[in-house]
Symmetry: C2
């Protein structure tokens, strides 16, 4: 591996730990028994061995010498900055417990467990990856651990390697599956513990006990850096509207956090669009209105932040897509004989009036994509829609109409951006480096204390790291029952942006001013070595949620 | 202006100056008389007052009290990191000469001079912009100062404001025009000096006396940061080929520098494609070959860097576009009656066999764009082509054919990125902050020494800043005669990537290894406060060119 100067300098960084963990020996203090956030009876019935367990908090304690044990670790799903530090924290934690302890990494995600694809993670390897971004130490994958045959295949290699506990680093679905696996191994009395760690740049795995998922801090700061640079360009050239789409299909936390960091002219929050039952035209009108208001002041430039999942949150679009899926499925044969150039009119003539009107309002390219690019099940692929271009085209059309009516005087030229891969593997910020290392270290202590079905938890995260509170939360506590693929399933509740939450309220109270004024903030790149107010601030979301 | 924590911390940075300038008082040492790089007689005839002047080097000297003077400054063309530091260096330089001196900024580029749109830049204003990115202090613009009527309009406001000298911060064209203006004012004996400063992220304004243009360092490092992050993601997920287009239409310095920083699997250099007379198919085949070779090792992922101007460098594409422009111009009437769905076949049937074959090989979307999206003069808009998508589509097509023939076994899925606006207004790196401040300060000394038609020059830039050599270079020295819009014009020679230059040779000697191995480097974000090897290294291009 050829290393950059920053990587070499950063390797020496010693992540900070909560005081209780840094003291060397810990004791687990049990709180009250817990219950799931909803559907208590159903969840309890499904998790008889892992339901109702107490919260755990670690405090400084007496060192106890435990017999040697082996631990396995899995990275699951999309990359998030800090994954390597979870693993190095876990490694240092188990080595502290007993230098004989071994850590095995399963390769390319949960599939590595099922396929018995693994490697031992030794000190030499771990040292190459401390404080680095990416999941390349063992790779990640999207195989879902769901079936008993997978659990049994996994147990074969677990037995063979003498693994006492498995740590699964993943998002809400992966942690749900970690708990199902914990329950299964407990029910079977296999003596294998399973611990989860909260990962996702999307920020949608959080609740009272899990303040934030790791990676959100670094990813948002990286996006805010480049958005800030674009805003400075925008404000210098004064001739473009930049439409910037941000990763995050199921929640708008990234867009909201970036908006709080950079103060754009417009930021759309999917959850608000859904709650207010806004149509696509409502969203377009809102943006066009801001463009027109700024143009009236002579400002033909601006920035618009758009969450990736927007289209799927617009109720009317959901209805259109649903009818389109049904229609194309039932009329596949007939549709295949329609000439390409006539397909659009054909669809318009066949849909219900409401959906027909929306379909007709879509730019040609998007309409074509919706009818042609379907997934293997024949469904419309909403994720392929370039929402940033869709919106800017529709805004341009609306402005042209307003110009005709004399309601708009200005020039409108757009640039488009989509940021996702740029931030998922950035080198972790000090916050994520410390938080991840603490999560991994905490996981080792949960294992030492014989826990299973717990998620590693580190709280009080807006305080200095020494004051953070490490512990464990029963995963069942975060669950409710939801319909997934037509079946009721126990799942961890996904945290969407709350319209009555402090971050959204802070945004909503300022957005009208940001729309007309040009009060862009330029956060600049993540710094690792400078003054603490530059290097160590957590996200605005976290600060606002904690009342800071 | 709401400021970020980094912006506040960074405002306190005092840029470093060459020792001679830092000493407070300087003397100008004149070197030998100069001549233009080519076409000496023609250039001399066009610039009788500004041709053949000596090189200037500043050394520490005696302070001389000069009468108060006013200076004007203009930002011309695209943004580049450090523009604000050129202005603050210029400001501090003239204030040091005499605190009574005043600096006026012309607003939104050269147009501000012609339209008499200006503001006085006072200490309060300057202090808000030190070490920041962007050109927003006075804005920039693309008006070209070319005609005598513009020069005379400019002189009106220059006279009114008592301006002794004008500093034009711009790229090769803007500096050419600065010299034409210097010559004009000298010929008219208006007593107005004009000094240029070398700006452009593209890196194509450089020569023996101008080692680098400002902004190249910061912009490339910002692009390398996000490309590095994408590479780490690529190497973690192991399932995508990322096609990454980089700004820079007329030269590939940015792509080359980024390649040297991140070690991608593929980087295309336009100048090489042109020199070797490679066809579009040759480029596609080269990339597809790397994809196939990696797939044979089980690596269905990788990164490809593409310079924005590539298509315009492919000789065969230039010929196609030229024929297409002629054909569409002479057959406009007939073409307008051809049905959209038949236009492609129509064009294929009409072009010469060579061009027809290339046109037929283009993906449908690109072919449509070439025939439909034309500029106001009816010309094909090459810059609208999404080269990154064009190449990945054509690579996919070629791989599919090779799969049929059993020559390729693998999966190919692509992601696309285009980076430009992300880096043009980044906060300047230490290098650019120091270099720009020194260029501005040097400009003030050239003014104090009565020089005109000079470009501010700071050399020996791979040494610590104290050892940098400040001075001035007659702009005519960098000129030759070139055909522009059908006329022979005196212009500064554009610096393209030299295939026998050290940066290209370093790249070429390693690229075959980078293609098959995965030896990505992850430079991480620009650091301002850390160890010197992290914060102060100049670009690889500059180091290699200086034999470091």
């Amino acid at each position: 591996m050829t290393k950059s100067a920053l990587q070499i300098a950063r390797a020496a960084y010693q992540p900070k730990l909560p005081k209780a963990l840094a003291s060397g020996a810990v004791k687990a203090v049990e709180g009250a028994a817990t219950q799931s956030v909803a559907d208590q009876e159903a969840i309890k019935a499904l998790f008889p061995n892992t339901y109702g367990m107490p919260l755990i908090t670690f405090e400084a304690g007496e060192a106890v010498k435990l017999p040697a044990m082996n631990v396995g670790v899995i990275l699951s799903g999309g990359q998030a900055p800090g994954g390597h530090n979870v693993i190095s924290g876990l490694f240092d934690g188990i080595k502290k417990l007993n230098p004989e302890n071994k850590l095995y990494g399963f390769i390319l995600g949960p599939g590595g467990l099922v396929d018995h694809n693994y490697m031992e993670l030794t000190a030499d390897i771990i040292d190459e990856y401390r404080n680095t971004g990416g999941f390349d130490i063992i790779g990640s994958g999207r195989t879902k651990l769901e079936s008993e045959s997978q659990f049994e295949k996994g147990f074969e290699i677990i037995k063979k390697l003498g693994i006492k506990a498995l740590v699964i680093i993943g998002g809400d679905d992966s942690n749900t599956n970690a708990c199902v696996l914990a329950e299964y191994y407990a029910a079977k009395k296999y003596g294998v513990q399973v611990i989860g760690c909260p990962k996702t740049i999307d920020g949608d795995l959080k609740n009272d006990m899990i303040e934030t998922s790791f990676g959100f801090d670094t990813a948002c700061k990286t996006y805010a850096e480049v958005i800030g640079n674009i805003q400075r360009d925008c404000n210098s050239a004064r001739k473009y509207w930049h439409f910037i789409k941000l990763m995050g299909r199921s929640a708008s936390h990234i867009a909201l956090e970036c908006a709080l960091q950079v103060q754009p002219n417009v930021c759309i929050i999917s959850e608000e669009v859904e709650t207010k039952d806004m149509s696509l035209d409502d969203v377009v009108t809102y943006i066009a209105k801001v463009v027109a208001d700024r143009a009236a002041q002579g400002h033909n430039f601006g920035t618009v932040l758009i969450p990736e999942g927007l289209v799927e949150f617009i109720p009317a679009m959901k209805r259109l897509i649903s009818e389109l899926n049904d229609f194309l499925a039932t009329n596949a044969e007939e549709f295949s004989h329609i000439k390409k150039s006539h397909q659009r009119d054909y669809i318009i003539s066949k849909l219900t009036p409401e959906n027909s009107a929306i379909y007709a309002s879509l730019p040609e390219g998007v309409a074509r994509q919706l009818s042609l690019d379907r997934d293997p099940h024949g469904n419309v692929q909403v994720s392929l829609i370039e929402t940033e271009k869709l919106l800017s085209e529709m805004v341009a059309t609306k402005l042209a109409a307003w110009k005709e009516e004399g309601k708009y005087v200005g020039k409108f030229a757009a640039q488009h951006h989509f940021f996702g891969y740029e931030g998922r593997c950035a080198a972790p910020s000090n916050f994520d480096a410390d938080y991840c290392y603490s999560l991994g270290y905490t996981a080792s202590m949960l294992i030492a204390n014989g826990k299973t079905g717990y998620m590693s938890s580190v709280r009080n995260t807006t305080a200095p790291a020494a004051e953070w509170i490490a512990g464990g939360v029963p995963i069942t506590m975060m669950m409710n029952m939801e319909r997934r693929h037509g079946e009721m399933k126990p799942v961890i509740q996904k945290a969407l942006v709350k319209l009555d939450g402090a971050p959204f309220k802070a945004f909503a109270s300022q957005r009208d001013r940001w729309a007309v004024e040009t009060d862009y903030v330029y956060p600049g790149p993540i710094q690792y070595f400078g003054p603490t107010e530059v290097c160590d601030e957590p996200t605005k979301t976290l600060q606002l949620e904690q009342g800071k």
